[in-house]
């Protein structure tokens, strides 16, 4: 654990989700890198990852300083010893972090912090307003069950699903609402029976899905060119498509939503620890947090960002992004065998991985 921050090493490399670290290249207004580089002399290089698994793989491989890990990756990183404890005393802005996040279990193990929160948000249901006309969807059933959409055509071939095993949790959450007899308590803690039901649901979904999405930009292409009209998605795509004047909107349906809460974590062998600490501090600046939450359509880790007017975000914007729905969102966590249902009662993540590949392969 670092005890003091020294001179910057001149660079810092970060593994991040698409759209997380912007330097004005996609849109000029959204730039929270250039000034940091000028101020600290730390040149930022970003490696975009598309799934949590990829993030873990990249961190296992090494060569990076920081990662914006979601809850389903962070504990794996900690367990694997890929990330190091963060000395929050060296991060003055820690105090401004949303209290709901400060000790969140996905980055705090035995009271030790393994990172600073970055952003959180729901996995929304994105849909095409032309296809749904006056009847916006209210349930995830549009992506799970075959039906005729308001434009008179079937949803078959016109919906997408996330190309990551964590999508099983979305199915579980859907079942939690529609099949209470399964007694699912958490979509990340499924016993064999519950797990099987979720997979069955996903097999039904397989017939509806033309292609799964794992890249935000390819998903946007598919909405534009492939006639896709509904899919689980991130606020990021919704915002970007709307800014392009596409007929796109999103909702959090009645079943609720899974979501992600991301943490900036530091590699155990980070080559540029000083710059990394400088970035972690910078990442909590309220103007960055504010712009980021506008840009990505999610919620800042620093509450002041919604209100202090230093960035683009407003209190209404935060509310619209679901700032108050924190408790309703079931954040991505890594499924483990030892769960609330008992030792070894739940299906662990590695089975999620192979079974989901099977489902996509039509098995």
């Amino acid at each position: 654990q670092v005890t003091a921050i020294g001179e910057g090493e001149g660079e810092v490399s970060i593994v991040a989700w698409a759209g997380y670290i912007e330097r004005g290249e996609t849109m000029k207004e959204f730039d929270w890198v250039t000034k940091f580089e000028a101020d600290t002399g730390c040149k930022v290089s970003v490696k975009t990852a598309n799934t949590s698994d990829e993030m873990v793989a990249l961190m296992n491989e090494g060569g990076f300083d920081l990662v914006t890990a979601s809850g389903d990756a962070s504990l794996r990183l900690i367990a694997g010893g890929r990330v190091q404890p963060v000395n929050i005393d060296l991060i003055p802005s820690w105090a401004t972090v949303d209290d709901r996040l400060k000790d969140a279990p996905w980055h705090t193990v035995d009271g030790v912090h393994y990172g600073v929160p970055y952003m959180w948000g729901p996995n929304v249901l994105m849909y095409n307003t032309d296809a749904f006309k006056d009847a916006p969807p209210t349930s995830w059933n549009v992506v799970f069950e075959e039906m005729t959409l308001p434009d008179g055509q079937s949803n078959k071939g016109r919906v997408q699903a996330y190309d990551g095993p964590i999508h099983i949790a979305d199915a579980a959450q859907y079942l939690m609402f529609h099949k209470p007899e399964l007694k699912i308590t958490s979509p990340y803690e499924l016993n064999e029976e519950q797990y099987k039901a979720a997979l069955d649901l996903l097999r039904v979904q397989r017939d509806l899905v033309g292609r799964y999405w794992h890249d935000a930009f390819i998903q946007m292409d598919d909405f534009k060119n492939e006639g896709v009209v509904a899919s689980g998605s991130w606020p990021f795509q919704v915002g970007l498509m709307q800014s392009e004047k596409q007929p796109i909107a999103s909702v959090i349906p009645q079943e609720g939503a899974t979501g992600w809460a991301d943490t900036t974590m530091m590699h155990v062998d980070a080559a540029h620890p000083n710059c990394a600490y400088k970035w972690m501090e910078h990442s909590l600046a309220s103007n960055l947090q504010s712009d980021l939450s506008v840009w990505f359509g999610a919620n800042p880790a620093v509450l002041a960002a919604c209100t202090d007017g230093r960035g683009m975000q407003t209190a209404e914007g935060c509310t619209a992004n679901g700032l108050d729905d924190f408790d309703k969102i079931r954040f991505w966590t890594t499924p483990v065998a030892n769960c609330a249902q008992g030792e070894g009662a739940c299906v662990p993540y590695y089975r999620w991985v192979s079974d989901y590949i099977g489902v996509i392969g039509g098995r």
Partner: protein, 272 residues
């Protein structure tokens, strides 16, 4: 005349199939050209809403393109150079004599192109990993040179075969030592085949993406840049502009390779 009567005339069906096949090969390329001029920057709507040449200027002003281009040029040049040396040596040996293990060696040479690129890539990467070799320009070159050897080899060995031991023996017979024979007879005769092989190897390395993704680490060669760019577009038509420029730049070497090997039996460019 009955169609059977003249065996030197192609039947209409064959002609149509051949020309149709060629068109099939070129349709997507026309599309690439078209979309270099579209005014729509984020999607490829068809037909394009309007045409513009602004993307050429935009491409010119993108430093990341220049970096990627420079890296690609560097990698392709060095890999081609290495492959030419190694390929020539092995073709000289293979043309010269029958020896024990000759068959195995010929198998070994084609292996890098006969095995899928993903295999070459992942095995190189795991070897780098095991030996703690950090990614660098050299790791990319290492991969590229490996599969370029066979391209040079294919060209050179065909020429060696055509060169029949004859002229080399004639040179020695007339009093030349091995070095004089190499310089005055072998090199001039092998030259065009090597050049052709080299150019094809260069073009191959320049467009390689499968192996490169495994051996490049965080470096971006031009194809890797394109991959990033195609998936996460900022200015999509710029990618097409780059593709066109590369395309135009490769026509010349390909034409040259064609004319250099025309008289020979080399299948210029077979093998990737």
């Amino acid at each position: 005349m009955r169609s059977d009567a003249n065996p030197n005339r192609a039947s209409l069906g064959l002609k149509l199939a051949a020309i149709g096949g060629l068109l099939f090969l070129h349709l997507p390329i026309l599309l690439i050209f078209l979309y270099a001029f579209t005014t729509e920057e984020r999607t490829y709507a068809f037909p394009p809403p309007g045409l513009t040449t602004e993307w050429f200027a935009a491409a010119w002003n993108r430093p990341d393109i220049w970096q990627a281009l420079w890296l690609s040029l560097k990698v392709a040049s060095v890999a081609t150079f290495l492959a030419m040396i190694l390929g020539t040596l092995v073709s000289a040996a293979m043309a010269q004599a029958r020896f024990f293990g000759r068959e195995q060696i010929s198998l070994l040479i084609v292996l890098p192109i006969a095995l899928p690129g993903v295999i070459t890539g992942i095995s190189l990467r795991s070897a780098f990993g095991m030996m703690d070799i950090p990614f660098s320009t050299w790791t990319i070159i290492l991969g590229h040179a490996t599969f370029c050897i066979v391209i040079v080899y294919n060209n050179a060995v065909a020429r060696f075969r055509r060169l029949s031991g004859g002229v080399l023996e004639a040179s020695a017979d007339l009093g030349a030592n091995a070095f004089q024979t190499f310089w005055h007879v072998l090199l001039p005769n092998l030259g065009t085949a090597l050049l052709a092989g080299g150019m094809l190897a260069f073009a191959l390395s320049f467009d390689e993406v499968i192996v490169t993704t495994f051996t490049a680490g965080q470096q971006a060669t031009l194809p890797i840049w394109m991959l990033e760019e195609l998936i996460r577009p900022r200015q999509r038509p710029v990618t097409n502009v780059v593709a066109i420029l590369v395309f135009l730049a490769t026509i010349l070497p390909i034409l040259a390779a064609y004319y250099l090997t025309r008289s020979g039996s080399e299948t210029a460019g077979a093998g990737k």
